[in-house]
């Protein structure tokens, strides 16, 4: 076994890779939150529940309609996006001018409802979703056996995160979006339909959670509580990264996954708390977050 300074490199590399896989989910979810926050100034507490919804939709599509994983990867985020659009249009918009705390509470309530409905329908013990045939098996790396599907998670999430970043930072559509964030009234004056952009943005941010849900279905058990646990971690990540930039959300998500992986190797007892500890340190040193702009 390869060791360096008494460290089992194989074990460490394995944990880092697993950390990166978890980080991919963190990145997708915090990216969605950041996009929504950018334009609507609200924190979507239901993001975790929508991630759960994505996983369940994938499971239901396979179970009841025979829709396979690859089709689900496209269809489910769309379906979750539609749920998000309805949420924004009929529930969030009426209170858009109230204190943003109310929208936080509203989305929290929605999260409870979604979680409750699925617990009621399927119990909380979790459903299993098979890994698609094309991604079964794995590759024997020098330091570990890497299941193909786990490798796919990293590749696919990075691709989605990067293209989202590119779309927002480098295209004209993204420019509208960023301008809408800065000054909605001005945009309206230029004849751009801001409410529509808001709705679509919300739908897109939520669809990212749905996408993460489909990605998670084959490796985590599909259960009603899968979203709530990850969401609080993602909140901490958002506080660490700050809400200033899209790239920041992605980077912080991945980095925190890796930090967690490192902790799992060196001091496993702290692996559940390390991200919150990092948050405390960031709050002490740079309250606005690593990439945050606002005071």
């Amino acid at each position: 076994m390869a060791t360096f300074l008494g460290i089992n490199l194989f074990g460490l590399s394995g944990q880092l890779l697993v950390g990166l896989i978890n980080g991919s989910f963190y990145a997708l979810l915090s990216l969605g939150l950041a996009i929504i926050f950018g334009l609507l100034r609200i924190i979507n507490f239901a993001q975790g529940a929508l991630y759960m919804l994505g996983a369940f939709f994938a499971w239901m599509a396979l179970q009841y309609m025979g829709i396979n994983y690859w089709a689900a990867l496209i269809l489910v985020p769309l379906a979750v996006g539609v749920v998000g659009i309805l949420m924004e249009r009929y529930l969030l918009r009426p209170i858009a001018n109230e204190d943003h705390l109310y929208s936080l509470l509203l989305t929290f309530g929605l999260a409870l409802i979604m979680q409750g409905v699925f617990t009621q329908m399927y119990g909380s013990s979790g459903m299993s979703y098979a890994i698609p045939d094309a991604l079964k098996g794995g590759t024997r790396l020098p330091f570990m056996y890497l299941p193909n599907y786990r490798a796919w998670i990293i590749v696919a999430s990075l691709a989605v995160c990067f293209s989202t970043w590119w779309m927002i930072e480098k295209t004209k559509l993204g420019a509208y979006l960023r301008a809408g964030t800065e000054n909605p009234a001005m945009m309206q004056a230029f004849g751009i339909n801001v409410p529509l952009i808001v709705t679509l943005t919300f739908g897109f941010g939520v669809a990212l959670a749905g996408f993460a849900g489909v990605m998670a279905a084959p490796v985590y058990s599909v259960s009603p509580e899968m979203g709530s646990n990850i969401l609080i971690v993602v909140f901490a990540i958002v506080v660490i990264g700050g809400m200033g930039s899209i790239g920041g959300a992605i980077l912080t998500g991945l980095a925190m996954g890796v930090v967690e992986g490192l902790t799992k190797y060196f001091y496993p007892e702290a692996s559940t708390t390390v991200i919150f500890m990092v948050m405390v340190i960031v709050l002490l040193v740079k309250p606005a977050g690593l990439f945050g702009k606002e005071a």
Partner: protein, 400 residues
């Protein structure tokens, strides 16, 4: 002001009198059985509504009445939370005249509930908890523990493996009472048979991603990775082990596997695994006959705890009938002095510490090609006599 205070005080005191008086004067005009279990969580399949069905079935088979009094069954969901369960049971015994509580799944909940029941001198008939604490360090004259416990699992499953030369063990343990108890007992069995534990990791109940634990197991150099968890935790841990190729490298031993979990697993992952159980539906005509009737009420094959819940309810009702009272001490005395004997309880007796000792079975999960139906899951390899499976009674728990 003084008069006012006095009035209030007397109101308060009369209130106190009324309510305490009310509790004492209520006579027991029926036998009331409370079934407490996880109804929708990770352990719902191994007891849950099936336990309620089994208890109701026992009551019905008994005739619905005992000593001319109605037998009533009520149930509640403990959500696997000790606080929820103990608050519910406290309410049952303090304000709803429940005589006996059965079901009892999560060892954490059972630990809290048995304390409340013992304080109130009511019986706990434990059907599905695994921890051995209720008849050892937390033993009580009011506890009766049916079906199985961690000692029986370790003696049944772990001992033959260590004796066959699998000396180095790694544990992935559920991080609460049950997992700790199972890990502790299994470790003793491993060490006393010349093996050793090379590492362990504790995963919280309901962990979704076992991959980092599996990687730790992989780099530990163990011959056997023991999964000291249950329910969907076991299923997820085993699936992840298979995904990361662990099952091909070493033996993965499930220490507590219920039929529902074994059924949920792909046979290609689970086949060949040996485990210990207290009951299997397809054992002989007696168990098949009972299962057939059970399935008319509950749509799945019975888990061992569900069969146990029936058996212990029946034994309890017989005791009430024979002694002519629902007094806990008298009934328990009868239950210990008279052997239960039914489709579930084979060569069985209730020991003075509350442990129900009966035949256990070492089974093997069948390959897909061996299975005749989707419920054809286990092949019985060996019958383990109760006295070999369960640990001896502790002298401080010898309640006569």
């Amino acid at each position: 002001m003084k008069a006012m205070t006095r009035t209030l005080l007397s109101v308060a005191m009369s209130a106190a009198l009324v309510s305490t008086g009310a509790q004492a004067s209520l006579s027991d005009d029926k036998v009331k059985i409370g079934v407490l279990a996880d109804m929708g969580g990770v352990y719902a399949d191994i007891c849950g509504k099936g336990c309620v069905a089994a208890v109701e079935m026992a009551v019905e088979d008994f005739g619905g009445k005992v000593l001319g009094k109605e037998i009533e069954v009520i149930s509640a969901d403990d959500q696997n939370k000790p606080d929820v369960g103990s608050a519910k049971v406290r309410e049952w015994v303090e304000s709803q005249q429940v005589d006996v509580v059965t079901g009892l799944v999560s060892s954490a909940v059972t630990g809290a509930v048995t304390k409340v029941l013992t304080d109130n001198k009511k019986l706990a008939l434990i059907a599905t908890s695994a921890s051995n604490a209720f008849t050892t360090k937390a033993c009580s004259p009011y506890n009766a523990h049916w079906t199985y416990n961690v000692a029986a699992l370790a003696n049944g499953t772990v001992k033959p493996m260590v004796q066959a030369g699998k000396k180095n063990w790694f544990f992935i343990t559920a991080d609460y009472a049950f997992g700790h108890a199972l890990e502790g007992v299994a470790t003793k069995v491993i060490e006393s048979n010349g093996g050793k534990v090379v590492g362990k990791v504790r995963a919280p109940l309901g962990t979704t991603d076992f991959s980092s634990y599996v990687l730790q197991a992989q780099s530990s150099g163990a011959d056997v990775v023991a999964l000291a968890n249950a329910g969907s935790d076991f299923v997820n841990a085993l699936k992840t082990s298979a995904e990361f190729g662990l099952t091909e490298m070493v033996d993965v031993a499930g220490l507590l596997v219920f039929t529902a979990n074994a059924k949920a697993l792909d046979p290609s992952i689970a086949a060949g695994m040996k485990l210990t159980t207290g009951f299997y539906w397809d054992m002989d005509d007696q168990t098949r006959e009972w299962t057939k009737r059970f399935r008319q009420r509950h749509d799945s094959i019975p888990a061992m705890g569900q069969a146990g819940a029936y058996s212990m309810t029946m034994h309890y009702l017989n005791a009430v009938k024979a002694t002519g009272t629902d007094n806990s001490e008298t009934v328990m005395k009868y239950m210990k002095e008279n052997k239960p004997n039914d489709f579930f309880a084979r060569n069985a007796y209730l020991r003075n510490d509350g442990r129900m000792v009966h035949d256990m079975y070492l089974v093997r999960i069948k390959k897909a090609s061996e299975r005749k139906s989707e419920d054809d899951i286990f092949a019985i390899e060996e019958t383990i006599p109760g006295d070999q499976a369960y640990a001896p009674m502790l002298s401080q728990c010898d309640f006569k």
